[in-house]
Structures are given as C-alpha cells and as structure tokens.
C-alpha cells in the first residue's frame, strides 16, 4: 500500500505555544484512518495544516507523492482533497439542496456565454447536478429538509450536509473533523455505514478526527494517537486500547 497523505516532520507554533511538534503521519490509500488524542493534542491544527487552512512553520506534506505544503485549500479541492469542519459550515442563504448543487465546479450556467446562449445544455446539466444532489441528500438522510435554508438546519443536520458536500465531486481523500459530534445515535449508525460504503465502493480514503470511541472502533483501522503535538502510538484499535501510554494520556498517570 502507498501513502496518499504523507506528513513529514511538521512543526507549528502559535506564538510561544508549540502545538505540532515534529509530527509525521502516513495515511494509506484506501484506508479509514482515525486520529485521536486528548484535547489540545493538536489534532485540529494538524488537520488544518493538511487541508491548507493553516500555514506550517516547517516540514512537508505530500498528497499521493505530490508536495502540497502550504498550498491553499481551493487548490487542494481541485486535487481531490476535501474536508469537513468541526463547527459545520454552510452557505446559510441557500437551501440544503442548493448547498450541494453549488459544489461541482465548471457548470455551464456559470459563464455569461453559457447562461445566455446554451440554455438547453445548462438545463440538462443542472438537471444532472440536481439529480445527483437529490441522491446525495437522501443518502445522508436529509431528504425531508432539502428545501429548508441551510442556516436553519440543526447542528447535526449541518454536519450531515458537510458529508454530503464531499460526495458531490470525485474525492480521493476526505478529512472528517468530528463528524459525529451533535449527530443523534440512529443517524450516526447510518453515517458510519455510509462512510464505509464510500470507502469500499468509491475508494475514498478517510482521515477521521473523532472523540466517539465506539465510532472509532467500528470505523477506523489504523488509529493514530496524537499527544502534545506528535504521534504517540499508531496501530489497530485493540493495540491502542491496551497501550499503557495511551491510557496515561487520556486518564492521567496511574499511581
């Protein structure tokens, strides 16, 4: 297996606070890799660095062998690296369905020429995008609120909309930032199934930050444990759960 995301010796400090400390991780092609760690371990910072939302101080990031260090998020989107946000983001003035329909780039209706002189093509393409968005929105279980303004959705529904957004284009890697937080249990089961299906059928690679250990246990292999800005342990969920260092980090040192 080859690494689709390869982070090498990354450092990042906010002022005097070193958040990422010579951190190297590899995410294998086709895996669902979990990223866990206590609060303040630097998970989200590392995520933002990979996703191009934060500049790093030193180190390198590679996407499928291509260096993407400090490339802006919009370029990474076109390379197939997508992310969701820990606090869900949405275009609040558009409906849930429109939020999904706006994702695919280069639609014919987006150019003055196309919008005016090729109405048939625009309509046909828009119908296709709409069809796809309808499938996706049912897939993530938001079919019943598809015509609601996205700003009015609940926190959990916005999370699901975020997952839907990553399905509107052909992604290679999806970074999921606490996708389960605020989503109810039943829905969460569907979510896990859907992520597995995307992984198996469409070959998406996932890197998942999660605090919900059940979800990590069901979904992720391998799991990377981050503490104080660098990798503490990496391995299968069983190995992690029995590692004394991890138990220390989470629950404090045993007397």
């Amino acid at each position: 297996m080859s690494a689709i995301i390869d982070v090498r010796h990354v450092n990042k400090a906010f002022g005097g606070l070193r958040v990422i400390n010579d951190c190297s991780i590899r995410v294998e092609q086709g895996s669902i890799t979990g990223l866990i760690g206590p609060n303040g371990a630097g998970k989200s910072t590392l995520f933002n660095i990979i996703a191009g939302a934060l500049p790093l101080d030193s180190g390198q990031v590679f996407l499928d062998g291509e260096e993407i260090t400090n490339r802006p998020a919009n370029e990474l989107f076109h390379k197939g690296l997508l992310r969701t946000f820990q606090i869900a983001h949405e275009f609040s003035q558009l409906t849930a369905l429109e939020n999904l329909m706006m994702v695919p780039p280069n639609q014919a209706g987006e150019s003055l020429f196309g919008a005016w002189f090729r109405p048939a093509r625009v309509r046909q393409e828009e119908a296709q995008v709409r069809q796809k968005a309808l499938e996706v929105i049912d897939f993530v279980g938001l079919g019943h609120v598809r015509n609601e303004l996205a700003g009015n959705l609940s926190g959990g529904q916005k999370k699901l909309l975020e997952l839907g957004r990553t399905m509107m284009v052909d992604a290679r890697v999806v970074l999921l930032d606490e996708i389960a937080a605020g989503v109810n249990r039943t829905l969460l089961g569907d979510l896990v199934t859907n992520i597995e299906r995307l992984n198996r059928e469409l070959g998406y690679t996932f890197l998942v930050i999660e605090h919900d250990m059940d979800m990590i246990a069901r979904l992720c292999d391998p799991v990377i444990v981050l503490a104080e800005g660098s990798v503490m342990v990496q391995g299968s969920i069983e190995e992690i759960q029995n590692d004394p260092a991890v138990i220390d980090a989470y629950f404090g040192a045993q007397p």
Partner: protein
C-alpha cells in the same frame, strides 16, 4: 403646470442624478464589505482619483471626443476606470493585504483605510491643485430642452448631456453587475465567499483571486461615479468629503453587503436630499386661493437650506440604524 415642470427639473432629474452617483459608489462600498468585512473609507477618494485620471487624460488629448461625437471625458472613462482599478488593486496589495495576513480585526482595516483616504487626498491635491476644474476642456456642455406638448406649459424640462450619459451608464452598470453576480462563475464565487469564506475555500474557490476581482470592480465603478459627478458639476479635490457620508448612508440604508440594496439606498438618499432642499412653496402657490387669508405662503418653504444638504444623509443614517439596522433589504448588521 409650470410648477410641475419645476418639480421634475429640481426633484426628479436632480434626484436621479445624485441617486445614480450615490448608488454606483455604494455598490463598491457594499461589495468590499461583503468580501473583506470592513468599511472602506478611502472609497470616495478612489472616486475622486478616477475623476482626476479623466481630467488628466482629457487635458492631454482634448480633441479625441470630437472624432467620436462624445465628450472627450466620456471617451477617456474606460481608461480611467482601468487606472483606478489598478490603483485599488495596488492599495490592497500594499496596505490591506499585509493587514489581512496578520489576521487583524476589521476595525484596524477601517482605520487603515482612513489613512489611505488621507494619503490619496493629499496626493490628489498635490497634483491637481485645490480649485474646481471643469472636465469639459475643448467642448461645451450641451443642454437639452424638452418642450412639453401642453398649452399651459411654457417651461421646458432641462436635461444636460452629462446627465443623459449618467443615466445610460448607471443603467448599464446595474444590468452588468446583475448579470455578473448571477450568471458567472466569479459572481457565484463572490456570493459564496460573502456568505462563508472558509467554506468557499474548501469548495475550491480561490479567495485571493476573488479579493482582487472585487477591487477591480469597486475601483472601476468608483471611477465611473467620480467622473459622472465631476462631469455634472466640476472636478474638485475635496469631492470625497461630500461623497463619503452619502454613499455610506446609501450602503447601510440598502442593507450592508447587499448590492441591489446599495442601488436602492443610493436613490433613497439622493431623492431624500433633493426633496429636503426643494422649495415646496412653488408647488403650493397655485393653491394659494384655497388657503384661508391668515395663512400666507413664505417665499421659500424647504425642509432644510441647500447649505445644510449634507445633514440629510446623516439623518437618514441615524433613523435607519435606530429603526431598521439591517437596512431595506436584509443586510448584515455591522
């Protein structure tokens, strides 16, 4: 009926003229706000700069317009728009971008733009002097008198050439902007970025490109508005003092971050100004015979004197902020 013509000349025409100028200026302010989230105080000086560029080009080549049949200043306008857009992008790269890179609060950007406003104003004075200059150098301002086909009307409706050009350009700018925002990829990206910049970036939108494009549009429109105002009256280096408040009032009245609101707001403020200084006695005089004897019409019956015109936008601004802080269209609350 002559009174009605007087009303049309002094309110309808004059109001549309000021309204159009404010509208074009306010669109720029509102676009900058919706993309970069700060109130750009140097905007009125960018308008003056645009007019100055037209003045310089017209002085350099005074005969060009005669060949095309338009005032030279209008022929030079596209070039001045390009130069002002260049200035706007340059100012952004030189002053605002470093601030943004440091992640400063919007208020710091506002103060920065105030500094830029003072720099621009000083430079304009340095090169253009302090006196008023007409943009008509080799030509005469044409005045159209429209006689109305009624017997009781003896006075014509008066529209000047720059006013006609102004109406045409405003209409073109509004339609162009509408098509741009609604029918192009960049327009869509701008609306997305205005709603949620992080998500826009994560959806593959190059936000730094959008910032540049916003400055190009805002700079171009500022040049149009400044030039049209200077054509109608005259070029003055302190034009911005009389423009800044009304265009901000217009942007806020319409709903900040809402381009159509800015256009509507521009006309609201423009008409409010002209209605406030209009001499209502002229309209009421024909009805004098119906009034009781003790009520005598004064010679001048305006809400405020012309010299106090500038307080009108202030008043509207305060009223809007008190009763409807989101503006006519629902904009963002600052």
């Amino acid at each position: 009926m002559n009174e009605l013509v007087f009303f049309i000349n002094n309110v309808v025409v004059a109001g549309s003229v000021t309204g159009s100028i404010y509208a074009i200026g306010a669109v720029g302010v509102t676009l900058i706000f919706s993309i970069m989230r700060f109130a750009h105080f140097a905007h009125a000086d960018m308008m003056t700069f645009g007019a100055l560029m037209v003045l310089v080009l017209t002085t350099a080549f005074p005969e060009v317009g005669g060949a095309v049949g338009l005032p030279t200043a209008v022929v030079m306008l596209p070039l001045a728009m390009a130069l002002t857009a260049l200035l706007a992008v340059g100012i952004d790269k030189g002053f605002y971008k470093p601030l943004r890179a440091h992640g400063v609060k919007p208020i710091v950007m506002v103060i920065g733009s105030l500094g830029v406003a003072l720099i621009l104003q000083g430079l304009i004075r340095l090169f253009a002097g302090t006196r008023a200059q007409s943009l008509y150098i080799a030509e005469r301002k044409e005045i159209f008198r429209l006689e109305l086909p009624f017997e009781s009307v003896t006075r014509p409706i008066i529209v000047t050439e720059p006013q006609v050009i102004l109406f045409i350009l405003t209409l073109a700018a509004v339609i162009g902007l509408h098509l741009f925002l609604n029918r192009t990829r960049t327009g869509k990206a701008m609306r997305a970025m205005s709603d949620n910049p992080d998500l826009a970036r994560a959806s593959g939108i190059n936000t730094s490109r959008i910032v540049t494009i916003t400055w190009i549009i805002a700079g171009g429109l500022a040049a149009v508005a400044g030039t049209l105002l200077s054509l109608d009256v005259a070029f003055k280096p302190d034009l911005s003092f009389f423009l800044l408040l009304p265009i901000f009032a217009a942007a806020i009245v319409g709903g900040v971050g809402h381009p159509y609101g800015a256009i509507a707001g521009g006309f609201v403020v423009g008409f409010a100004e002209t209605l406030a200084v209009f001499n209502w006695a002229v309209l009421l005089r024909p009805l004098q015979q119906h009034f009781p004897d003790w009520l005598e019409l004064p010679r001048n019956l305006a809400f405020v004197g012309t010299e106090y015109k500038i307080v009108v936008p202030f008043f509207i601004l305060v009223a809007i902020l008190v009763w409807r802080p989101t503006g006519i269209f629902k904009g963002k609350v600052i």
